[in-house]
Symmetry: C2
Subunit: 440 residues, 2 copies
């Protein structure tokens, strides 16, 4: 057992070291080379699709024997249509601008001394994702386009599919001239635990999964974590809301797809419109089979169960909605900032001022006016691709696409400049903004 | 004892909760209000300077009695000149653009559905800084301008000075119309330990101090940490370098101020120029009293001590330099990426191609061509103010000024839009880039 643990430790450390080594050269790859490599991946998937589907059938059969629930089996399935979808995704990614090598700022510090702030890849990213094999292709191609090495851990149900997909991607990119080692596949929970210790090699962890899982990762690694634990989203119906619009938005926010992080879990309603609004809403939600739980005021208007303090903190991910009547917008804002998860919150109002105040004071990554919380998504936002949704307050917030996968470095170009000349006041800084690209 | 710990816990949690509450309103403050508040701080410091100096004298006397070393006492001193300097700093800060409220991106997702990415404050920042009382003023005003609440812990030697400075700042900003609670002063190590647990309220920790201290913070908090542990900076002298320029740059990088993170600790020299270069460099460094330690090749050229593996990993912060002769630029790059700390590294070369390759492949926040590593600093970069230097690979890297103190939120403005219309393909996304400011 001891020996096995040591073996895993060595193996994962070796993989991380290789990923890090590869990341240095990957950071220097041209856009053309990266796009060619992406095209090679698409070609590889096309050529080897029978092999991929056969591996997936093995996963499906084994998972089915192990009694995995039907919705999970559906997500695990990777057939000809799914392959066509991920290939479409790759061609969309090729068309996106390269986020690397952009000059973000240029300043002349003094004659002959120029400073450039230039975007560059983060380095090595560890991503732990759910059972969908398409996620492996999406995440690894996103990392490639942004110049990052990636250590991937998918669902163990999908292990055969993931192995072959990682193999296809690695071979295709090597053939296109990208060095080996930038994509590494982990297979067990023990592998993940080892990875979490490797802050020497890994710069960012992106965990996708349950609340408890994300918290576990955060508590067990010194590596920065990007992602979200809860998705407790709110709709607030203001006193001047168009009530028909409000019913539509709340129904969509709650029921369009309940199992996702941007579905609404709690409805807040201004007391002035609760009387006419709640019965109408209940009528529509009853049709969808949504269970309601409300505060006392809610229950004096519609016959629903009681909502407790615990309800305000709960992400149901189900056909259930908690309702609270508030006596002001500020009470709604305060409720959201207290119980929400900083994910996505919407106001329905006719007033621009009310919307503006709500969107300023609600401390969430996505604040919406007169539309469904379900729009909170990288594809819908037009980011082209999404590595996840972040409720972090640093680096990247909301849906994270290519832009969230880069950082920058400062490049300073001089001609023999030394600090002593400025410390002794023989020279002084000019700090003139320049409008030019980095020359190096 | 138990009771005392509980008391500290309650007190710090209460302070953090108040900071968080204040941060919500601070995020909505106009630039004008924030600048007026900054002016009020400057006025407060002017009016109450005698009081401040008296408090500082108490700190100096106590510290002197306690036998604190002279350089530390010098940093602790906060006299009329230092007060004038921080007031100058505040007026410079007033002139800087507000980093909050900028529209970073605007996209029409569909007719009547527009997405805006707008910069906003991070929220609550915890800063632990060294003994200089001027740091308290600089950090808190930087936080105010960027709309962040701040929990501050300064050196305990400066406790009387810090108390009165925090009091002056709090009173001045309250008088200017900024709500209470945005600035909170911690006083003990126990306070800091409690703060590290409050990821519920605190969004970012910026520790300034020793390597061990920064690592301790990283290992003991779930809150993201921005900063740097080591500053192991390098100069690499390429085979085609102007050797006189190289001597000047290395001397400045090593000796201009040895006790700081951007001083050079290791020199790498291409073997083709080591022969003529090293004796000349030694001649100049001897004058400054710099001790040298070199690899075997170095020691075959100049008479110096032996450098071990440990030297390559050491931040001397002293008049000491380790030297290694390399047989290629790639060996130099590899050495830096292996032993460096990702802080600041310079190449001295006549070749743009060599410089470009070095700056692309060295994975550091600051990569320099033909200038001293000592330029790596927020003031010298023209950022106006600096909260610290980051070797993180996410959020902010290199010297961190106002821009590093903000994040963004997505604001989505619709007119009743629901996702079901797009899922059912009744409507489709347009994703048209807009060139306009957010209307809310």
């Amino acid at each position: 057992m001891e020996e096995k643990i040591m073996e895993t430790k060595m193996k994962i450390e070796e993989m991380a070291a290789r990923a890090r080594e590869a990341s240095i050269m990957l950071a220097a790859c041209s856009t053309g080379l990266k796009n060619n490599a992406l095209k090679a991946i698409a070609d590889g998937l096309t050529c080897r699709k029978d092999e991929i589907i056969r591996a997936n059938v093995l996963d499906l059969e084994r998972s089915s024997r192990e009694g995995i629930p039907a919705p999970l089996l559906k997500r695990l399935k990777f057939d000809e249509n799914k392959i066509a979808d991920v290939i479409d995704g790759i061609y969309s990614l090729i068309k996106l601008d390269d986020p690397v090598g952009r000059t973000l700022m240029a300043t002349r510090l003094d004659e002959g001394l120029e400073l450039y702030k230039v975007s560059c890849p983060i380095g090595v990213v560890g991503v732990i994702f759910e059972s969908r094999p398409d996620a492996l292709v999406q995440i690894s191609t996103l990392c490639l386009k942004s110049g990052n090495s990636v250590m991937l851990k998918g669902g163990s149900e999908a292990r055969e599919t993931n192995r072959i997909l990682a193999g296809v991607i690695s071979a295709a990119t090597e053939g296109a001239g990208i060095g080996k080692g930038w994509i590494q596949l982990l297979e067990t929970r023990a592998d993940v635990n080892e990875m979490l210790k490797l802050d020497k090699y890994i710069d960012l962890i992106i965990p996708r999964g349950s609340n408890e899982f994300v918290r576990y990762i955060m508590d067990n690694s010194r590596i920065p974590v990007l992602g979200h634990a809860d998705g407790i989203c709110h709709c607030y119906v203001h006193e001047d809301a168009d009530l028909d619009m409000a019913v539509n938005i709340v129904v969509d926010s709650k029921t369009q797809y309940v199992a996702v992080c941007n579905a609404t879990e709690t409805l807040l309603v201004h007391e002035k419109v609760a009387g006419p609004f709640l019965p109408e809403l209940k009528h529509e939600l009853d049709k969808k089979g949504v269970t309601l739980a409300g505060c006392d005021k809610t229950r004096s208007i519609i016959a629903v169960g009681e909502a407790t303090e615990e309800d305000w903190k709960t992400e149901y991910l189900d056909y259930k909605l908690s309702i609270r009547v508030v006596n002001s917008m500020d009470e709604a804002i305060n409720h959201i900032n207290t119980y929400g998860s900083g994910h996505t919150d919407a106001i329905i109002t006719r007033s621009r001022d009310a919307a503006s105040r709500f969107m300023m004071l609600v401390d969430s990554g996505n604040v919406f006016w007169n539309c469904s919380t379900r729009f909170s998504d990288g594809f819908r936002y037009g980011l082209g691709a999404e590595v996840g949704i972040s409720t972090n307050k640093i680096h990247a917030r909301g849906p994270v696409g290519l832009e969230g996968m880069v950082i920058y470095k400062y490049k300073l170009v001089g001609s023999g400049h030394v600090v002593e000349d400025y410390a002794s006041r023989r020279k002084s800084f000019k700090h003139i903004k320049l409008d030019k690209e980095t020359p190096v």
